[in-house]
């Protein structure tokens, strides 16, 4: 007995004495931008800023880390919620005992109400439009939040999730700092803001009081490295643990070959479509538009872009969204049909159409491939290349007959359909968003679906809308570009990564280095 005890003592002291491997606790992420923008979640509109802020803020609900679809909505700052039958009154039960960063006190329904009102205000938020249907937000008591809507909103929970306007800021901090909130954002997330070095990095440290438990990592350094090749080299030399990839298949092939590295093409896919202005000649003739649609070979575009990082478009809405018609009746590739349609329309010798296009590399290579494909059908695409901000400004003035646009949106069909195809969104009008086509054929369905409370009927309306838009050839969907990231394989994210709505992988309290 004594011997056993002695043995146990020796063994345990040996265990204690054995050198504990120094575990890496600092994560360094390399992002492809030159500097931080506005680090205020309600104003941030760029991928780098949104990705970073995701580590700092929570929503009332969240999309499960690693997923990019509203099917995976789960509790975040709200433990539970209920709504009335037609979805115009929502009551959220706010989690008790959540602390704001940097000792700004507990997070209550009062903060949640303040945050939503802030997100709905034009002067303090880029996302005020998302909350146009909200008529009242009220903190009934410290743990109860009530939201009243003017009309039902498709996928409403998405607007109070941990993205854009749904990010919950702490009232006291936001009021105290006013316009300077972006210099020291205060939220409730697993990491809190520590330091900003211009053009270099933002440093976040672990929020030890995080309500899901203290994070395993001690800090995150979010580095701004705009040159793709420098980011790759710094990743290779071990200075970075995770990098935003060059959005290109050759990058995937090259990076996958490095030892000890994981490369991931994740959701969401950004849908690349050609939007045709149906009021401009010769695109006002549906046969010409059909000829364009028949001339695009989606399969070979995907081969060109790389099968590992891209996939064929399925509809005028990206695949996987709530309400996407995954088998929309897109026109098949058929050069003979295309030429015949052109001839029928009175252009036996072909047509010339024009586009104003950005010099953004990934998009430029695509439009050049499209140009080559159209050429085979006798359609000449004149490309006028301009720099990115100019492109955004000119296409919104209706100056481009064909607009090539690549985008991901909140994954509910309504958002994409409304922004790109509702006639209220036509560029040049006071309510303009990004309807470059002048199409209005699906207005009735889009608007009816927005307030339809029966999910089955809603889906049917969205399906009809997409069929009409495809048939009318308002847009020619081409392919979807996935988001490319790489990280060291000793980094365990703590969840299975399929995607991320803000386009950067989530870093949670469970993320850690295994060695």
């Amino acid at each position: 007995m004594k011997i056993k005890l002695f043995g146990a003592l020796v063994a345990s002291s040996l265990l204690l004495a054995s050198p504990v491997m120094a575990q890496k606790k600092s994560l360094v992420i390399g992002m492809g931008s030159a500097d931080a923008g506005k680090l205020d979640p309600h104003l941030a509109s760029t991928t780098p800023d949104k990705g970073l802020l995701n580590y700092v803020f929570n929503g009332l609900v969240r999309i499960k880390p690693g997923e990019a679809s509203p099917d995976f909505i789960e509790p975040d700052l709200a433990e539970s919620w209920t709504s009335n039958a037609n979805g115009t009154e929502w009551t959220f039960k706010i989690r008790a005992g959540v602390q704001c960063h940097h000792n700004y006190g507990p997070f209550t329904a009062e903060d949640a109400a303040f945050s939503l009102k802030r997100a709905a205000t034009k002067t303090t938020s880029s996302y005020s439009g998302d909350f146009a249907s909200v008529s009242n937000v009220e903190a009934v008591d410290p743990t109860t939040l009530k939201i009243t809507l003017k009309n039902p909103v498709a996928g409403f929970l998405g607007y109070v999730a941990n993205i854009n306007g749904g990010n919950m800021v702490c009232k006291k901090a936001a009021e105290e700092m006013g316009e300077n909130f972006g210099k020291k954002p205060i939220g409730t997330g697993p990491f809190e803001f520590a330091e900003y070095q211009p053009q270099q990095y933002v440093k976040l440290v672990a929020n030890k009081k995080y309500f899901r438990g203290a994070p395993q990592l001690e800090d995150i350094t979010f580095r701004y490295i705009p040159a793709d090749s420098s980011r790759d080299l710094a990743f290779q030399s071990g200075e970075l643990d995770m990098i935003y990839g060059k959005q290109d298949q050759s990058w995937v092939d090259r990076t996958s070959k490095l030892p000890g590295v994981k490369v991931k093409a994740m959701e969401p896919g950004e849908l690349s479509s050609l939007y045709l202005n149906i009021q401009s000649k010769p695109l006002d003739d549906i046969r010409v538009r059909q000829a364009i649609a028949h001339a695009i070979d989606r399969k070979s575009i995907v081969q060109f872009k790389g099968a590992g990082s891209s996939r064929e478009a399925v509809s005028v809405v990206p695949s996987g969204y709530l309400g996407t018609d995954e088998k929309a009746p897109l026109y098949e590739f058929d050069l003979a049909k295309s030429k015949k349609l052109l001839a029928d329309a009175g252009y036996p010798n072909g047509v010339t159409i024009k586009t104003i296009h950005t010099t953004l590399t990934g998009m430029q290579t695509l439009i050049e491939a499209v140009q080559a494909q159209l050429k085979k059908a006798g359609i000449t695409l004149d490309i006028e290349l301009v720099e990115h901000a100019t492109y955004h400004s000119q296409i919104r003035k209706g100056l481009s007959q064909v607009v090539h646009y690549q985008a991901a949106r909140f994954p509910v069909a309504d958002v994409y359909l409304t922004q790109f195809f509702d006639s209220a969104s036509i560029v040049g009008t006071p309510t303009a968003v990004t309807n470059f086509t002048n199409c209005n054929v699906a207005d009735a369905e889009i608007r009816a679906a927005r307030i339809e409370t029966d999910p089955a009927k809603q889906k049917a309306l969205w399906k009809t809308a997409q069929e009409k838009l495809v048939k009318e050839v308002c847009a020619v969907p081409v392919y979807e570009q996935l988001q490319l990231w790489a990280w060291k394989d000793n980094l365990d994210l703590g969840y299975e990564l399929h995607g991320s709505l803000n386009l950067s992988p989530a870093i949670t309290e469970k993320t850690r280095f295994t060695k």
């Binding site: 500097d35 509109s45 880029s126 972006g182 053009q199 270099q200 040159a227 420098s230 030399s237 009008t429």
Partner: protein, 312 residues
Amino acid sequence: MTAFLIRRLGFALITLFAVLTLVFVLVRIVPGDPAQVILGDQASREAIEALRERLGLNLPLHQQYAVFLWGALKGDWGVSMISGRPVIQEVLNVLPWTIELTLLSLVMGIAVGVPLGVAAAVRRNRFTDYAARIGSLLGLSFPPFVSALLLLLAFAIGLRWFPVISGGRGSFDAWYQSITLPAINLGIISAAYITRVTRSAMLEVLQEDYVRTARAKGVPWVVVVWRHALRNALIPVITIIGLYLGILIGNSVLTEIVFSRPGLGKLIIGALNQRDYPMLQGMMVIYTLVVVVVNLATDIAYGIADPRVKFQ
């Protein structure tokens, strides 16, 4: 001398004013809307109009200009439309990085370029000359982003002597680690320029009568070259150094980006891409100031190098 300085300062002010006006107009002629950039591509026209109003972009151009000039006179360069931080602060944050890089690479350029240029001229059409000429041609024709990548591949990835991200600060070691490769990268270019100019100036001077006279008197060749000839060949070298400081700042943009160093170059590229009007205006003033000051310094340096130059 004082009258000269006053006159030059007067010219400098006029130049500055002209540049300010030109920049103010140019950035607004270029298509692209800061409000659009700030709000992102999902923003509705209403939201964009509201922001334009808040930023003062919907005012008539002459009013915007008046606001801008009045601010500039008071020393208020406004606030960056993108980050919301004061322009002056953003510039001052990174200015030391750019100055340090530019000066160090210039010193390297002079340290390498002048002796090499002299040696090439003295040994005209011999091996040293050919080597210097070919070397400097290579240095000139290499785009700085290519040489930067090659340096990184060799010294950061291959030999692992330096980090890829040159952003270290705080200790001498960190500073040395972060400045060396970028300074070499820019130093190559300035060395190449200076070598070529020194060589051709020296060749001309070496054929002068006084050089022959000095040699005939029995002055040692080394003294003839370094004291009699080089001193007289310096004027074009100083000119090119002055001019080159402007070019270096331009080249530092690419160097800063590839070596992930903070600096004015990255700032101005960001401001251009995002149509950050106040930032662009502020940056242009800085650049103009630099060029004006360097030109003035060059003129004064002429007088020091060559007493025959009179300030009038």
